[in-house]
Subunit: 429 residues, 2 copies
């Protein structure tokens, strides 16, 4: 009787619940998030689940169990990414892929990565429960070592260099050694490269890592793209001298133009319309003693925006101001552009529209905004139309034990992810 009744029960659901009414199980999703958080929890309440650590490795077992329960067919690729597949009705279609990561920065939080990873698994579990079969195959990807250089997603798009594989990770093993610990094979990574067209679309759900949604009390962020990052090291060189015996009018103190430039960076970045950000996060005086007029002051300038062109336009204005300040103060200016290899990745306009539309239908408030932080989605955008869904993060905090998103916000994000997948499944051929 039981064996006969169960399929009939599922069948019933398919008939009585249209796609737009399928909802993920928010309580269950939250419970998995709390369980995952126990892997690597430290005394300070932070997460030490850094990639390749024993916490990461144990947590991945838990993730695989969840994926199996959701009805996914699991494999681990050469880069150690966990891939879960659910067949669609049309095997000739390319998969709709989605996922995130479960590794954290040292002493990190419980939400950056897990929300999108567990949200993706919950989406599959809900669809399976409702017996809903998409046209496209669905693919959940739990990426390897996002926090340590988007290692897994770079491997998928063929952008992980041999050099990057030799970089030491926070777990004290190289990326290559770590990948082996996850069951990957670093020597065969080149073989796993996917090309444009291999994936129908890529989606990632994530906490905002900024205060826009939280401060404005909004539910969902529709990500416009992931910003480009440019770095410069700017040095003013004057003349180191005795701070007691050198009269004010005989000084060539590089601290003065450096301080003025800090203020100019802020003024210039704010003078443009848009959501660009510019930061001086580091400043150093040399020799750096209270009783010595510095010979040199170095500062780091970072500018981020969705448009590389705009970044450089802003930078050029800052540079010309720096030259002016150097001349005025009789100091020498030295500027070094630092390669951070971070190109902008724009979200696909159609996917952005779908995310917004589905959030509206769910009665959720939205805001379009750029992602100022890097994500696996940024790499995946190289080979597939990409979309990202943000949910609020308390006080905009991330990468810290204080990271927090509410159960409701997480459920909202997963529901938008689910509906976006279903809508994409209809529209994409």
């Amino acid at each position: 009787m039981k064996n006969f009744l169960l399929p009939a029960f599922l069948l019933l659901h398919v008939f009585i619940l249209p796609a737009q009414d399928i909802k993920i199980n928010g309580d269950r999703l939250h419970e998995t998030l709390l369980t995952l958080a126990t892997y690597g929890k430290n005394e300070k309440g932070g997460s030490d689940r850094v990639a390749f650590s024993k916490h990461d490795i144990e947590a991945r077992k838990y993730i695989k169990e969840l994926m199996e329960k959701a009805g996914l067919e699991i494999s681990v690729d050469f880069a150690g990414n966990i891939i879960g597949r659910k067949a669609g009705k049309n095997p000739s279609l390319k998969p709709i892929s989605f996922g995130s990561h479960i590794d954290e920065v040292p002493n990190g939080g419980d939400y950056d990565g897990p929300v999108g990873s567990l949200g993706a698994i919950e989406v599959i579990r809900s669809l399976s429960e409702h017996g809903y079969i998409t046209n496209h195959p669905l693919e959940v990807i739990i990426f390897t070592n996002e926090e340590g250089g988007v290692v897994g997603s770079r491997a998928i798009v063929g952008a992980l260099t041999q050099e990057a594989l030799q970089v030491m990770s926070n777990a004290g093993v190289t990326q290559a050694e770590g990948i082996k610990l996850l069951g990957g094979n670093p020597e065969r990574i080149a073989e796993m490269k996917r090309n444009p067209g291999d994936i129908a679309a890529f989606l990632e759900l994530h906490i905002e890592q900024g205060g826009n949604l939280y401060n404005e009390k909004l539910d969902i962020g529709v990500v416009e793209g992931i910003v480009a990052i440019e770095w410069w090291e700017i040095t003013f060189k004057g003349k180191a001298n005795h701070a007691g015996t050198t009269p004010m009018n005989l000084r060539k103190d590089p601290m003065l133009p450096a301080a003025e430039l800090v203020l100019e960076v802020n003024r210039i970045v704010n003078s443009y319309d848009g959501r660009q950000v510019g930061t001086v996060g580091k400043i150093q005086a040399f020799p750096g003693a209270g009783n010595v007029i510095p010979g040199e002051v170095k500062l780091n300038l970072e500018i981020r925006d969705l448009s590389s062109e705009k970044i450089w336009k802003i930078y050029k204005e800052i540079e010309s101001k720096a030259k002016e300040l150097a001349e005025k103060s009789g100091t020498e200016l030295e500027v070094k552009h630092i390669e951070v290899a971070s190109k902008p990745a724009l979200a696909d306009p159609m996917i952005r529209g779908i995310i917004k539309n589905q959030a509206d239908k769910l009665g959720l408030s939205t805001k379009s905004l750029p992602s100022g932080a890097g994500h696996d989605a940024q790499e995946m955008a190289r080979i597939a139309p990409m979309g990202m869904i943000f949910i609020p993060s308390k006080d905009g905090i991330s990468h810290a034990p204080e990271e927090f998103s509410t159960k409701e916000d997480i459920a909202n994000g997963a529901n938008v992810l689910l509906q976006t997948i279903l809508e994409l499944d209809k529209r994409l051929k």
Copy 2:
């Protein structure tokens, strides 16, 4: 014949050469300076004759030889200071003391200290050659470890603490151990304390360690006094955050008020008449990464002036500006006054007048100016009327291998020292 003629020859000089016509031997003085410079010369051309090093110890033997040749009776006190005495006509008078140090900072120069030390010895040698006997006893003091905390002069005035004796020196031994190496006895230092009245006057000849005389092509600096030094550590506390995801208008970036304060320090210090100096020589952002908005920016403020009252007046204006900047930027201000135990030491007005007058008589141009650097004379001023004579230092450089004063300037300084001693000898009772 020879034995008979020699005293007659000296007697002749005393009669035919009035005090104001006695000149030191500039060539000989310069030669001793070049010889002393060979002790501790390093490959970079700098002097590594740090206090208590083998170079210091060997150089002191050379100094003692010179002092003996000059006709001084030598002793080493409990602090390792070399004391050379020449009796005067009136044994009931207190000595006129003068001297400097021969130790250098690591990789230092050949003039800071040696000019005044060798100048003092040359003054005695010249007086002896001319058979000139002063009323007062004369005392040459070569102070122990000036660069490492005016150790010898502090011991003489009773200001060297037990703690200071345990401080590690640049030679890798504690001050106490170093003093033993020089033949002193750190355990008996308390016994050597001299009191106000024990010394009739103290004089020090020194290079300027600043560019006033050199830039204005002047011969002699008449030191008004040695400035007081005050230090503060000023911290602005904001909120560390992700430099990519935190919009400009949601930041509490302490870098901005810190930068503005650097400029205000300069503006405020320059807004007062006089020769006060104010310096921000050190600035640090925490955590100090290019991609993190700092949570904290710390800067060191130093102000020096002959008047402690003026220093605090200037500081109060800076502090009130800092409070204003903190409020404006929504950051917190924390200020810590750092004890540097450096009180101002004014030169004795009568001695300043004599120095100026004697320089004029020698046809030398003068300028009154404060000493921005500390000296043994600063300590000696606690117990005796004090005067300092500066000579030009090329480009105002000191504490570096590039330190340089001409043979003429050194001879001028020693002649002013000599004439000042002789004039003081007449005036003081």
